[in-house]
């Protein structure tokens, strides 16, 4: 199976799917509506894509907020007060569409055909939630928890959606672009 054949079959199985040409370079990237996700992944699993590579999410709201980092205002004690700006706040670049949305990205592999396919589901930032894939792939268990912990996407139907990497006292979801770090007892 080649990428084009796969797309022809997949688009027949999930008619609402869109192919993104400016997706992940060199791989077939498909955009799905949230409700089609489980159906499409089930179809893929039955057609050889029985290996879940990764789940992640991207927050497209804006460039990253510098207040999400912890820093000493003047780390170089040999310089006068405030002489060294530490990290420059990234600015918006023209041409990139910042939007109030997040994309959950899935990557599935077919070991037989040596193919990878990327699936994207766009969700609003305020109520980010998609269907969980734990019933299909157990590999989704921890990866969904990680995405929930760091980006705050809720996975409906996940048996144990809780924090996994960050400690209890870290508030918010650190990989969201507007994350502001609240100083805790160790800062």
């Amino acid at each position: 199976m080649t990428q084009d054949e796969l797309w022809a079959q997949l688009s027949a199985a999930a008619p609402k799917a869109q192919k993104i040409d400016a997706g992940v370079k060199g791989y077939l990237t498909v955009k799905l509506a949230g409700e089609d996700l489980v159906k499409a992944v089930t179809w893929l699993k039955q057609h050889g894509f029985d290996y879940l590579d990764m789940i992640t999410a991207v927050d497209y709201s804006s460039p990253v907020e510098v207040k999400g980092f912890v820093f000493d205002p003047n780390p170089n004690h040999f310089l006068p007060e405030g002489a060294t700006p530490q990290i420059e706040a990234p600015t918006k670049t023209p041409g990139f569409t910042y939007r109030d949305a997040m994309e959950v990205v899935y990557c599935l592999s077919s070991l037989k055909d040596r193919l990878k396919v990327f699936i994207k589901v766009e969700v609003p930032r305020a109520a980010a939630s998609v269907q969980s894939l734990v019933a299909l792939f157990k590999a989704a268990d921890w990866q969904e928890r990680e995405v929930f912990d760091l980006l705050g996407v809720r996975f409906e139907g996940h048996p144990n959606l809780s924090k996994i990497l960050t400690p209890e006292f870290i508030q918010g979801h650190p990989l969201r672009k507007d994350y502001v770090h609240v100083p805790d007892k160790f800062d």
Binding site: A22, G23, V24, K25, G26, Y27, T29, D50, Y51, L52, D53, M54, T56, V58, D59, P63, V64, V66, G68, F69, I87, E88, P90, T91, T93, P94, G95, F96, Y98, V105, C107, S109, L111, R114, K116, F118, F137, K138, A139, D141, W142, Q143, E146, L150, K163, I164, L165, T166, P167, P174, L175, Y179
Partner: protein, 377 residues
């Protein structure tokens, strides 16, 4: 005199499940992993791995670092095998920027990754011996590992965190002296590998403790998304070096060792066999390598990536290591996600430990071969 030893337990004896906290400070968890074990007698009824004790927020930090600076962060995920980490980030970035890496650099990258695989598997070999109860292999493995680290030190000045593979190529070219020293090491190392097999692999005690323990079926391995020797130990042929050849892996011949049953011993043996393959790959690279450039032309000092997304994956020492990069056209990645093999491999622990004896916990945990820096990132 009554037989107290074989008498039935008294009526009022209380049996209860017990909670045991393994880690975060435990010599056999290879770092700061915590596993909450519920045991009933000798049997484990529930295992809850708790990670995050080394969560350093690398993915967030990458969003304000330049692309060249990010290579430094990559060293510290899988600190036992840092070269594949460097490589995967550089591959993803090169895809984004469309850089053409010179052929010599491709070969050098392959050599470095394979040498690092040897160093990493030697560490596994030594520490897994300790986990099972054999201390001597540790000393043997570290003797050879130091020689590999000497080679790395000679070429890039660092023993663990190399930052050697750069965007567009490698830091410096290898010279003839280094090649000669490396060949000398390979000649020295080949008989040592045989020694290891007599020392540990076919040791009856070691075999008894690992060959029927921690069996992971093919189906389980697939659905849990295992990769690397853990997946291949269960008999599934998935190797990123064959799946989508990168660097110079399409120009060299090598086999992918596979296990049969998916037991701890199979996973262990896959790693030992991989060391033979790594030696062979490095030798082939030396044969085929020609003089030339080691760095692509036109790599910017402060690169601004074009808008787009890229994914690259390599076969690291622990499994399929992937990087997903999103660029918004700025000086630093808009989003970087690491497909960390250790993190995904570790998740199976909650299922594979249940129903096993307490004594087998460390045997199973050690055979999965995790590095906590990569689990938590």
């Amino acid at each position: 005199m009554t037989d107290t030893l074989h008498a039935p337990p008294p009526e009022d004896i209380k049996t209860d499940e017990m909670f045991i906290n393994l880690g975060p400070q435990h010599p056999s968890t290879h770092g700061v992993l915590r596993v909450g074990l519920t045991i009933s007698g000798e049997m484990i009824t529930k295992a809850v791995p708790d990670v995050g004790y080394l969560h350093r927020g690398t993915e967030k930090l990458a969003e304000v670092r330049g692309y060249h600076h990010c290579v430094v962060l990559t060293d510290r995920w899988d600190y036992v095998a840092a070269m594949p980490n460097n490589l995967v980030f550089c591959l993803a970035t090169e895809k984004l920027f469309n850089y053409q890496v010179p052929e010599r650099a491709q070969y050098i990258r392959t050599i470095m990754c394979e040498m690092n695989r040897i160093a990493s598997h030697l560490l596994f070999f030594g520490t897994y011996g300790i986990d099972i109860g054999a201390f001597t292999p540790f000393l043997y493995a570290f003797r050879e590992r130091e020689l590999v680290l000497d080679l790395f030190e000679q070429i890039c000045g660092a023993r663990l965190t190399y930052n050697y593979i750069r965007i567009g190529g490698v830091m410096v070219d290898v010279d003839d002296k280094w090649v000669a020293k490396c060949r000398e090491f390979l000649e020295y190392f080949k008989p040592r590998l045989k020694e290891y097999e007599t020392l540990l692999s076919y040791n009856p005690i070691f075999m008894d403790r690992t060959q029927t323990v921690g069996i992971i079926s093919k189906e389980d391995a697939m659905t849990w998304g295992l990769s690397g020797p853990n997946l291949r130990g269960s008999g599934i042929d998935y190797d990123a070096r064959k799946f989508e050849p990168y660097a110079a892996y399409d120009k060299v011949k090598f086999d992918v060792p596979l296990g049969k049953t998916g037991s701890c011993w199979d996973r262990y043996n896959c790693r030992v066999q991989e060391m033979y393959q790594s030696v062979s790959i490095v030798e082939q690279c030396f044969e085929q390598m020609k003089p030339g450039d080691f760095m692509a032309k036109g790599v910017a000092k402060v690169p601004k990536a074009p808008i787009g997304e890229a994914y690259a994956h390599v076969e690291g020492a622990r499994g399929n290591l992937g990087i997903y990069l999103v660029s918004d056209g700025g000086q630093s990645p808009f989003r970087m996600h690491v497909r960390a093999p250790s993190f995904i491999n570790l998740a199976i622990l909650q299922e594979s430990l249940v129903g096993k004896k307490v004594a087998d916990v460390i045997a199973i945990l050690g055979s999965i071969d995790i590095v906590l820096g990569e689990v938590d990132r």
